[in-house]
């Protein structure tokens, strides 16, 4: 039985990763899961310099989901390389995807250039879809021309393969997927969070200091499956699927819809061992269904 998947020439021991921003760089959840069992660790967004993020409250619960407005707090690429990448040296079986964020094209490029010679970085995930920062972030992800341009620019600088992370906050996500492909993306990942809002009826005010936040968790899963399916049928580059994946069934569903790999995000918050539990469930499914290669199920539901 073979759980290996390959994306842009990078081989992953299995298709299960965690989703950027929900897992740090693995240090904290490393207490609960063996990071060496994951297909990949996908880091929190990294910028050129430290970002303080948004004021609090940054978190709100909604039915079967949550809103976050962290605002990409991160220590900047220098600290990240010296601390987080060094930590990840201890987990050689897992691949490392570094999620990159910026306010401008120049800021993305600065991070991409700094990471170019870091051997621990297997791939870059370019976040052009964060709904929680005013400039950059999602602004790049909602206009196909901007998606294509930033993809082309990043591709020119990057030494590692690039995954463009798409926003679901668009009319037609296929258009963005095609734009990323046209710009030279090696893969796409989706979905980032859906912009939402929660109002406290007693205080008659917003729950989040940022007013809006990105929705994630089990409630968004059907939307994510639909979008992965649409993109899989629109582009020829591999897809990393995410959005509400909480059980092995959810992960298998993503792959049947067309994802080559699957990220687990919010589920870590209610089940710290969600990633490896999902992997174990998927392996049992392969045994039961006599699936030799996990890649055999990618996109077979047409």
């Amino acid at each position: 039985m073979n759980t290996k998947v390959t994306i842009a020439g990078v081989e992953f021991q299995n298709p299960i990763m965690e989703a950027s921003g929900t897992f740090g760089s693995g240090m904290e959840y490393g207490e609960f899961v063996d990071l060496n069992r994951l297909g990949a660790v996908v880091t929190k967004g990294v910028a050129n310099v430290p970002w303080p993020g948004n004021p609090t409250p940054r978190i709100a619960e909604v039915s079967s989901g949550m809103l976050n407005a962290i605002g990409l707090q991160n220590p900047g690429v220098e600290v990240f390389c010296n601390r987080d990448l060094k930590f990840l040296e201890n987990y050689k079986d897992t691949r490392v995807l570094v999620n990159v964020c910026g306010h401008s094209a120049e800021e993305y490029i600065e991070v991409v250039d700094r990471l170019a010679d870091e051997s621990r970085v297997d791939m870059l995930e370019i976040n052009i879809s964060c709904p929680n920062v005013k400039e950059g972030g999602i602004a790049f992800g909602q206009d196909p021309k901007a998606v294509e341009e930033i993809t082309r620019l990043v591709k020119k600088h990057a030494k590692q393969p690039i995954v463009m992370k798409l926003s679901p906050n668009v009319t037609d996500i296929k258009v963005m997927a095609k734009a990323a492909e046209a710009g030279g993306a090696d893969a796409i990942s989706l979905i980032n969070t859906l912009t939402g809002m929660k109002i406290d009826v007693e205080r008659q005010n917003f729950v989040l200091a940022n007013k809006t936040g990105g929705m994630s968790g089990p409630a968004v899963h059907p939307i994510a499956v639909r979008m992965v399916y649409e993109c899989a049928n629109a582009v020829n580059i591999p897809i990393i699927g995410m959005g509400g994946v909480s059980t092995w069934e959810d992960a298998v569903e993503m792959m049947l819809a067309g994802a080559t790999a699957v990220s687990v995000g919010t589920a870590n918050f209610f089940n710290p061992t969600a990633t490896v539990d999902i992997l174990d469930g998927m392996i049992d499914y392969m045994k039961r269904k006599k699936i030799d290669n996990i890649t055999d199920i990618v996109g077979i539901v047409k």
């Binding site: 430290p50 303080p52 989901g65 962290i70 707090q73």
Partner: protein, 254 residues
């Protein structure tokens, strides 16, 4: 060490209007120290985020943790309906806890900030005065503090028991002195306690609260403003769940 496990409820009692106590059998008790908290997960899966609740008492021999909480929403309402023998998923112990310092100590709790001070009062080896603030004469846990502390001072919002006013008013009125003050309660109270501590030259530890998602330091949801750069993101944001919930009052912006 942190454990994620199914804990069995040993006892569940109502202490006062909307205030409940729950005794949980869990191996987390073996690693817990006063001032830490546990994440309690709802059995109703539509409520996906854990509820952070402070540890009120630790019994390592019996292997139990006690939590005391106020029903404020759907999650805590669900917990209040649990019966002995029922189970809940928990993660913990989380956070840093109160450092046990030598010398004369004052432990200050306001409202639902009272419970976490109990285990601390029991474990401190020096002379302990407890200053407890309540809304009314519904003095939950007061008897436990009378057993645990050398002296107990009350403040109530309605003046029915002790000093009519805040815990800070009560400290001033009794001219309390100490080497160290520990406090848990609403932010304005923490600020007042920190100022009082400063005025008497005492060190002051405060336990902070913020909305959380992961509870383990990964998501950066629960930060509070710190005076110096934090060692995670190198900005001025410390994580309440991991770097706290207990901070020196001089470390954070109150």
């Amino acid at each position: 060490m942190k454990v994620k496990e199914t804990a069995q409820i040993v006892a569940s009692d109502k202490l006062a209007e909307n205030i409940y106590s729950m005794l949980l059998a869990t191996t987390a008790s073996q690693y817990a120290v006063p001032g830490q908290f546990i994440n309690i997960y709802c059995n109703d899966g539509s409520k996906i985020l854990p509820r952070p609740i402070s540890i009120c008492e630790i019994d390592k021999e019996l292997g139990t943790l006690r939590v005391v909480y106020r029903v404020v929403g759907k999650g805590t309402a669900e917990f209040s309906n649990l019966k002995p023998g029922d189970t809940v998923e928990i993660l913990g112990p989380l956070g840093n806890g109160f450092p046990l310092e030598e010398g004369k100590a004052i432990v200050v709790g306001g409202g639902i900030g009272v419970p976490p001070m109990l285990e601390l009062a029991k474990e401190l080896t020096g002379d302990v005065t407890a200053v407890l603030g309540y809304r009314t004469d519904d003095l939950f846990l007061a008897d436990n503090f009378i057993d645990a502390a050398a002296e107990v001072v009350f403040a109530t919002d309605d003046g029915s028991v002790g000093v009519h006013g805040t815990v800070v008013d009560a400290m001033k009125e009794n001219d309390l002195r100490a080497d160290v003050i520990y406090a848990c309660g609403p932010k304005p109270m923490l600020k007042g306690v920190a100022e009082y501590a400063d005025s008497i030259g005492a060190k002051c530890y405060v336990s902070m609260e913020e909305r959380m998602a992961c509870g383990v330091g990964a998501c950066l949801g629960c930060v509070c403003q710190s005076k110096e750069v934090d060692n995670h993101s190198h900005v001025n944001n410390k994580r309440v769940c991991k770097d706290g919930p207990v901070f020196l009052s001089t470390e954070v912006v109150l």
